[in-house]
């Protein structure tokens, strides 16, 4: 059983009532408990990240909140009340895996989805925002991975949602397409919308999220602002050196170190002292790198596993 690690006042923005509250949510599939009694609240205007390895229960949690799946038990409150039919009008959803009606162009599909909502965004604005100008008259089945994700994002925004759910929006994208997508998500965030995002990319979470909840085995094991979580669970920096840089066995050094895949990882909160120690032992520092701790280290410290194990 994990104990939830929580930082105080994670974002500094939660002075107003939360937009969304999840209370003791449980979702079971037969004997399997996919989501195991989780609770959290999301303030207005923030980007909230649900992080965790595959199978941690992120997507299930998201789909229960979205009202796509029914919960086994627990409550979901939107603006302090149980969700009503209006909820669907106020949220935008980008599914991790989805198909759309076949044989339609990007523009036609946007028009169809626009027609399903009461309050909608101007499609030209949306096409510009999501960088779809070049492809808007192309059949959506023909879009590349990055184009398709931007198109799905545009569909999620077609109803001017107050709350946007993005389920692993950049999975499978190349770095350029991913950064492009992050730029768009940041634009959406800047417009004041609340975003709930799932991802297993720590870099993405750190780049986009004001607050994250780390999930593992259906439970939340840590929650807070990324920097606060890192401060709380990781100390100092990691110095990485190839094993061949050491003339003597590194274990002889009075340092907190581990050997991983032929590299020596030294955890230190005093980089100056660490470097002096290494130089005194005639360690070759030409291939040295110094890594700041990230959410991956938080997960590693909390579970003993890597996020993508």
């Amino acid at each position: 059983m994990f104990k939830i690690a929580e930082t105080e006042n994670p974002t500094g923005k939660e002075t107003m009532a939360p937009l969304l509250e999840v209370q003791h949510l449980v979702k079971k599939y037969g004997a399997l408990t996919a989501v195991d009694d989780i609770s959290f609240a999301i303030g207005q205007g923030i980007c909230f990240g649900l992080l965790g390895p595959n199978g941690a229960g992120k997507t299930t949690t998201l789909e229960v909140i979205e009202n796509i799946l029914a919960s086994t038990s627990g409550d979901i409150l939107y603006r302090g009340r149980a969700r009503t039919n209006q909820f669907k009008n106020e949220v935008g959803i980008q599914f991790q895996n989805t198909s759309l009606l076949a044989m339609l162009t990007v523009w036609e599909t946007l028009q169809i989805f626009k027609g399903l909502y009461e309050e909608t965004e101007d499609l030209d604005v949306l096409v510009d925002q999501c960088q779809l100008q070049e492809f808007k008259h192309q059949r959506h089945e023909k879009l590349s991975g990055g184009q398709r994700q931007r198109f799905l994002l545009a569909l999620a925004l077609v109803n001017r949602p107050h709350l946007v759910f993005l389920d692993e929006p950049s999975t499978g994208l190349d770095p350029q397409a991913r950064h492009n997508l992050w730029h768009i998500v940041n634009t959406i965030k800047a417009s004041g919308k609340t975003i709930v995002l799932t991802t297993h990319y720590m870099e993405e979470a750190q780049h986009l999220c004001d607050e994250v909840a780390i999930m593992d085995h259906g439970r939340i094991i840590a929650r807070g602002a990324p920097e606060a979580l890192i401060r709380t669970h990781c100390h100092g920096v990691t110095v990485v050196l190839p094993r061949r840089s050491f003339k003597k066995p590194p274990t002889a050094l009075p340092l907190d170190l581990k050997e991983i895949n032929g590299a020596v990882h030294i955890q230190t909160s005093n980089i100056d002292a660490c470097l002096k120690q290494l130089l005194s032992c005639e360690v070759d520092l030409s291939d040295m790198s110094v890594n700041s701790p990230n959410l991956e280290h938080v997960f590693l410290n909390l579970t003993g596993r890597h996020l993508r194990d």
Binding site: E66, I68, N85, K88, N89, I93, F95, N97, T98, S99, L100, L101, A102, F113, L116, Y117, E118, L155, N159
Partner: protein, 349 residues
């Protein structure tokens, strides 16, 4: 091209097929059921080339040996004798090509009727005449012809073909497509919008109705240019009947689309429903002479009532009031199917 990839995909596809127990089982069950159905309908009997209507006779199957007809005629192979209580009833069937020849049972002269537009009838008449020794004798035979409006076989068959086309289009165009969208997640995406199941199903139904009626008009008037159909009743009434039939068949498609994510299993179910409906609703051939329970069973299909109504209007000149029983049945079936479809519908299961 790499055969390794082809082989891997071949194996993967086979695994998928064999592991989908429902569709796997269905692939065996369906042909069995089809063969069994035909066996029950036609098995244990000789193949009959001609149907001879006999009146007055109330018992079916007819005790042929007891009929007062020429012995040689009764013993002729490949003839099926179908009894009717009255002459009018028998002649109505003759007019609709449901029997090939009508004979009054009794003492000579034997009075018989044929439909001039029926090639089967002409041949059945030759068999009847040949069963009496010598050339046709007016003292023994009394030939009658139907002098009412001619109903050609094509006039009888055409509504059947149109209705069958409607049935396939309605069942597959709705049932199969919705299941495919459920399987690939498109319905799930729609579920996330404010669109309700009722709205979605209504849109599916209306779209299909529009396509069916559009197709009907194009095919009808296109074929009419070539075949010059004899339409005894009102065209508007015929289209009203077809509209009600389309509604009922599309609603049935919605019931089939209500659940399921396996396209192959749905294909099996669609075949299971559409094929018996096609054979038992008299699209291609009459059920005259089939066991009573088969005729009764055929009543469960909307196509039966659609075709009966359309043929009454087209071939007999009936009005909408005359086909009110068929209309009522179709309306009730539509209501039932829509209710079932709405209750059972799931976006993702």
């Amino acid at each position: 091209m790499r055969f390794k990839r082809i082989w891997i995909m071949f194996k993967a596809r086979n695994w998928e097929f064999f592991r989908d127990r429902a569709s796997f089982g269905w692939n065996f069950l369906f042909p069995f059921l089809l063969v069994a159905g035909f066996g029950i309908l036609f098995g244990g009997k000789e193949y009959t080339a001609y149907k001879i209507g006999v009146f007055p006779a109330t018992r079916n199957p007819l005790p042929v040996a007891e009929l007062k007809l020429p012995e040689a005629f009764k013993k002729t192979r490949f003839l099926q004798f179908v009894g009717f209580a009255t002459r009018e009833e028998a002649l109505a069937k003759l007019r609709h090509h449901k029997v090939d020849l009508v004979v009054r049972a009794g003492s000579p002269p034997y009075r018989y009727w044929i439909n001039d537009s029926s090639p089967q009838g002409q041949l059945a008449e030759k068999i009847f005449q040949a069963s009496l020794s010598g050339p046709p004798d007016p003292a023994l035979l009394q030939r009658e012809q139907i002098h009412s409006t001619e109903i050609r076989y094509i006039d009888w068959l055409f509504p059947g073909i149109l209705a069958m086309n409607m049935m396939f289009s309605a069942l597959w165009g709705v049932g199969y497509i919705v299941v495919r969208y459920r399987k690939n997640g498109a319905l799930r995406r729609l579920k996330a919008t404010p669109l309700t199941a009722f709205e979605y199903l209504s849109a599916q139904m209306l779209s299909r109705l529009f396509l069916l009626m559009f197709t009907l008009l194009v095919v009808w008037f296109g074929c009419d240019l070539i075949f010059h159909f004899n339409v005894a009743g009102s065209l508007v009434s015929i289209f009203v009947m077809f509209f009600l039939g389309s509604l009922s068949l599309t609603a049935l498609g919605l019931v089939l689309a209500a659940r399921g994510t396996s396209e192959e299993f749905t294909t099996g179910i669609l075949n299971f429903i559409s094929w018996p409906m096609m054979f038992l609703s008299e699209v291609w051939f009459s059920l005259e002479g089939a066991p009573g329970w088969v005729k009764q069973f055929a009543q469960i299909f909307p196509l039966t009532h659609l075709l009966r109504g359309v043929r009454k209007i087209m071939n007999d000149g009936a009005g909408l009031l005359d086909v009110m029983p068929e209309i009522l049945v179709l309306v009730m079936m539509t209501g039932l199917f829509l209710g079932l479809g709405a209750v059972l519908f799931s976006w993702d299961r």
